[in-house]
Structures are given as C-alpha cells and as structure tokens.
Amino acid sequence: MLVYLIRRIGQSLLVVAVMATLVFLAMYAVGDPVDILASPDADEFERRAIAQRLGLDRPLWEQFGIFVWNALHGDLGRSFVYNVPAVDVILQRLPATLELALAGLVFSILIGIPLGVLAGLKPNSLIGRSVMSGSILGFSLPNFWIGLMLILLFAVELRWLPAGGRGPTTSVLGLHFALFTWDGLKHLLLPALTLALYKSALVIRIAQAGTREVMLQDYIRFARAKGLSSRRIVLVHVLKNILIPVVTVLGLELGSMIAFAVVTETVFAYPGMGKLLIDSINRLDRPIIVAYLMLTVVIFVIINLIVDLLYAAIDPRVRLSEAKG
C-alpha cells in the first residue's frame, strides 16, 4: 500500500510539472498584458517600464525559470489588476467555489443514487423508463439554460430564493463559508442544483447500469436464498457494489464540477473562482489565470489521489492486489 501511495504521488507530481509548463507556454502565447495595463496614449518608454516591472522583458527561458522557482515557493505572481499575490486572490474565492462544487456533489448523489437504483431494479417499469428518459434530459439541457429557468421559477416567479450572489459568510479557520447560515444556504441552493443536474444524470445512469448488473449476480441470488429482505439486499448488497463505480466517476467529476462552476457562477453572479477566471481573462490578468489553472490542476490531482484511496477502502479486492504491486 505504501509503495502504491508513493508511486501515485510521484505520478501526480509529474502531472503538475507538465501542466505547469503547458500553462506557462499557453499564457505566453495568449497576448501581451502590457496592451491592457498601459494607458492607450502611453509612449514606448512607459510601456517598457511596465514590461520591466512585470519581468516581461526578459527572455522566455528566464521567465520560465523564475516562474517555476517562484511557483515552488507558492508564489504565482502578483495580480496585474489587484496588485496583490494572485494566489491570495484565488484562495479568497476558493471556499465559495468549493462550497458550490461540494453542494453540487451532494445533490447529485442524493438525486442520482436513489433514482438510479430504483430504475435499475425495475428497468421495464414506467418509473424506470421515466427516470432514464429524464436523465437524458439532464444530459442534454445546457447548464446556463437550467440556471436561468431555475432563477425564473424560484427567484422571479415564486420569490422563494435569491436570484444570485452569495449570502453572508462566517469565518472558519480563516476561510469564509456561507454554508453555515440559513441565508447562505438559500443562496447556494439554486446554483448547486444547476451544477448538480448534469452530474445527477450521470450518477443515475451509472447507478442504473450497476444495479441491473449486480442484480443478475449469483451472490444476489444467494442472498435471496438466505431469506434476506429486499431492503437489506438493495441497501447493503447492491449499494455497496455500485458505490465503486459511482465513487470513481464522481471523484473524477468533482474536478470538472469545479471547472463547470465557471458557467454556473457567471449565471448566478456567484463570486467564486470561476467568475474570477472569466473576469481575469477579460482583463488579461495573466498571473490570476495562471494561478487558477495551476490550482485547478493541483485540486484535480489531489482529488484523483483521494478517489484512489477511497476506492481501495470500498473495494477489498483493490486493497489486496495493489498492496502486492
């Protein structure tokens, strides 16, 4: 297990290094931030001064060296716009996005697993078919459209929930979370639901397929022959088996959930990392974009690691075979 862990961490570091290089090169190709930062009537001298201050006048390899060196020290540059460390700006927004992604994740599990299992147990029934058709809808409706519809219904028509923004936050360990206040939760509900819809559809499909497959297995037959109640068979024997694919996929999708949050956050004017990214792209605030991308890569990698470990915790077979390897 330890060998496996070390190997996985090694792979993760490699991924981060490769991504860092790609991100740096991509940023270099995107455009010259001096164009944005300098006033339109700035002369060549002023422009050169700005470039010099930002280190943009040095050769590419030197800029890259400095970038890597600083990155290793947790410094991804200062925001051109806010003039504070880019990492700080992102970290300030991170809790909002994490909160959103996690709430979305919880919703997709709460919606997806029960419906998927139900549809898997009765694949030919009306309810089974309806759930599966519904999941196709969940796949094909665009995220922003669902968000707008939810806003129209719950915020504009019914006036039950706020249309956007983030509620009041409380500080936990120095980070600001809205999760712990009623108003904060109300602000979180619609964007999280929007974000969760696509994933719910995914979870439904995985859970349905998994349930159908598991129900045909001999061990389910044996469990029935033992006289177990269907409740126990579904809640223990089936659920524990389908959790393996669900956790794998959801874990991998948590990363894309954070990325998808870009659209959702924009629709709901939700002050998370995603909205910050869009704003920063518009302003060519290169350090913020770089910091966002790097941070996302790191989050992805960490999530994958956690998923692998969780996977081993759920599936005893993985635990053993990986321990050998």
């Binding site: 029935r224 022959a225 033992k226 006289g227 177990l228 053993l320």
Partner: protein, 349 residues
C-alpha cells in the same frame, strides 16, 4: 434410503408398498415453468414431479439446458421474470408454496429451504466480509444478538473444515480459494438446519480432490441435521456415491426415476443409458467414451412426441408421433419410453 420412498406417485399408491407410510418433506407435482423470451414462450420445466423424504438425497441429472436449475430455483420461489411458474404444486412439509406471498416465502428461504450454487467464485458478495454475510443470514430469521450470531457463524465454519474460523470470519471472499468459498456457502446455507437443501452443481467448478472432501462433508452435515437434498449435477459419478434416488431430466421433463443403484446398473430409458455410457470409468480406460449423438434440443423447437427421438438409437415411428407417458416399473421406478431397455413388463400393466 429405501426403495419404498418412491419418487413418483404410482398406481399402487406410493409409500404403502413396504407398509411404511411417509409424507415426503418436499413434494413437487406437475411443475411447469415457462420463459417468455423474444422467440416466444419456452417451457423450461414441463410437468416435473418428484418427492424427497426426510434425510434423503435426490440426484437430479441431465444435460445442460434440461431445466435442472430452473426446477431448483422454482422450489425456493426464485424464478425471476421472464420466467414464471405456470402450473403445478410444490409442497414443503405439506404446505403449498406456489402462490404464497413473497413475505412468507422469504421466511422459509434460508430457514426451511436452502440453496447453494455452482460457481463458488460468485456466490459470495465480493465487497462484504464473511462474518457480515453469515451473521445477516442468521439474523434474517432469528432475533439473536450480533455476538451470538457470530459465535454460531464461527462454529458453522469449523464444522465445514475451515481452520482458524475466527480469523477467516473477518476476511473477504477473494481471500479464499474456490473450495473454501463453497464451504462458506454450505456452512451459511445449513445455518438454520433447513428441511431441504437444493444444491445446484456446487462441486462442478472444483477439482476432484476438493470435490470429494466437500461431498463427504455435506453428506455428513445433512445427515446430522436431517436435511434432505436435491443434488443437481450432470456428473453421474457424483450422484453414484451421494444420492439415494435419481431423477433424469431431458428437455424439461423427468424421463426416468428410481433408486440410484437400479438406474445406474439397469437403465430403462435410452437417454439414461447414453448418459451412463458417456461417463469415464476405470475399467473402460483407453476406450473412447460413447457420446450421445446430436445435441440437446433448443427449447424453442423441441421435437414432437418423445423429445429424445432424433438422437435415440431405438426410436420408431411411434416415438415420433406419440408422447411416451410416465410408466411405473418394479422397484418403485418410473420411465417414459416406448421401447424401454428393460425386458421386464411395466409393473402397472
């Protein structure tokens, strides 16, 4: 088990022959199970009848697809869609099971009726520990504490010859060999000393030595708890040492029954003879095995009249036009064949 414990109702009245009246513990009558599949409705089990008495072992043999497993599943009420029990009666200790609500069937399963399956690699849930899977089987029927159930699980494992059961209880199925897994399944199935154990080829997937050990253990355990067994197999050599009576199935029907020694030594039905001829044996070493020519008919197009007629060396025009009916023979035997291999006249003629 004595030959009086006939497996089929005979005109003389079963059970009175030897002057010993016994109610069978399991009595199956005219069981019909159909499957509604794309090609139409196929009849997997077609009018099967047999009795099993307390402590008796009935061997249910036949080629693949003859309906053995479906018969076994029907006994436990585990035939799933697209399958359906169309007709017949299954009585356990006199109590009719067909038509019983699922709730009541569930109470009998695992308690009075148990079943073990062919592939030990897949009968245990891979993600649950052995103790979980055994304790739940106990607590499904008895309101005992977790600890008491665990104690019983441990003793059950010890009984089927699993060393250091306390450690093994916390293991997962993949940490066991196939033979050990089948032992766990057997121990689990016999936890409540059921009246009937349906064993669906539980040793087929194991190598010969393990198979022999397990057979001996099951036999001993079943005898101890008075459990009757329906032992499904296509391996006649297993049946020879294990069963008291034998029922030979072909295309959903029982074509011959009788005491094991009688049937194996003097088969009546040509199909039974064919099965016996295809068993490897010591004194025939080197001689190529006789194979029954042809294949088991697809259930979607069973030949008319005697379903065995295209493959039967004795087939006549009668066989292709008239369905042979169950006919009783001496020694509480039954066969359905127009041209039996035994000279002796049918007992009820």
């Amino acid at each position: 088990m004595s030959a009086e414990a006939s497996s089929l109702p005979s005109p003389q009245g079963r059970g009175t022959q030897g002057g010993r009246a016994m109610t069978p513990i399991l009595s199956v009558r005219d069981l019909v199970v159909t499957f509604a599949i794309r090609e139409g409705v196929v009849t997997a089990v077609n009018g099967v009848s047999f009795d099993v008495h307390r402590g008796e072992v009935l061997g249910l043999v036949g080629e693949s697809g003859s309906g053995k497993s479906v018969t076994g599943l029907a006994i436990l009420g585990l035939v799933d869609a697209p399958g359906r029990i169309e007709a017949g009666s299954i009585r356990l200790e006199g109590e009719e099971l067909i038509g019983k609500p699922e709730r009541e069937l569930r109470r009998l399963r695992g308690k009075r009726l148990a079943m073990i399956f062919q592939d030990p690699m897949t009968t245990l849930n891979p993600v649950l520990r052995i103790d979980t899977q055994m304790i739940e089987a106990i607590r499904a029927h008895e309101n005992v504490s977790e600890k008491a159930a665990r104690d019983r699980a441990r003793q059950a494992l010890l009984k089927v010859g699993i060393p250091s059961p306390e450690e093994r209880l916390t293991a997962y199925p993949h940490q066991f060999s196939g033979g050990m897994r089948q032992r766990v399944a057997i121990a689990t199935a016999l936890l409540h000393r059921p009246a009937v154990l349906v064993a669906d080829e539980p040793t087929t997937a194991l190598d010969v030595t393990i198979q022999a050990q397990i057979l001996a253990e099951v036999q001993e355990l079943a005898a101890e708890s008075g459990t009757a067994m329906v032992w499904i197999t296509h391996d006649l050599s297993v049946i020879a040492g294990l069963a008291d009576r034998i029922a030979v199935m072909y295309a959903g029907r029982i074509v011959e029954t009788g005491a094991v020694a009688d049937v194996l030594e003097r088969p009546i039905h040509p199909y039974t003879a064919g099965l016996i001829g295809s068993v490897p044996s010591r004194n025939k070493r080197g001689v190529p095995l006789a194979q029954i020519p042809g294949m088991t008919p697809s259930l979607a197009k069973v030949p008319p009249a005697c379903p065995f007629n295209p493959r039967c060396p004795r087939a006549s025009v009668t066989c292709r036009t008239i369905m042979p009916e169950p006919t009783p023979y001496d020694g509480a035997r039954m066969a359905r064949c127009h041209h039996p291999l035994i000279e002796q006249a049918p007992a009820a003629a």
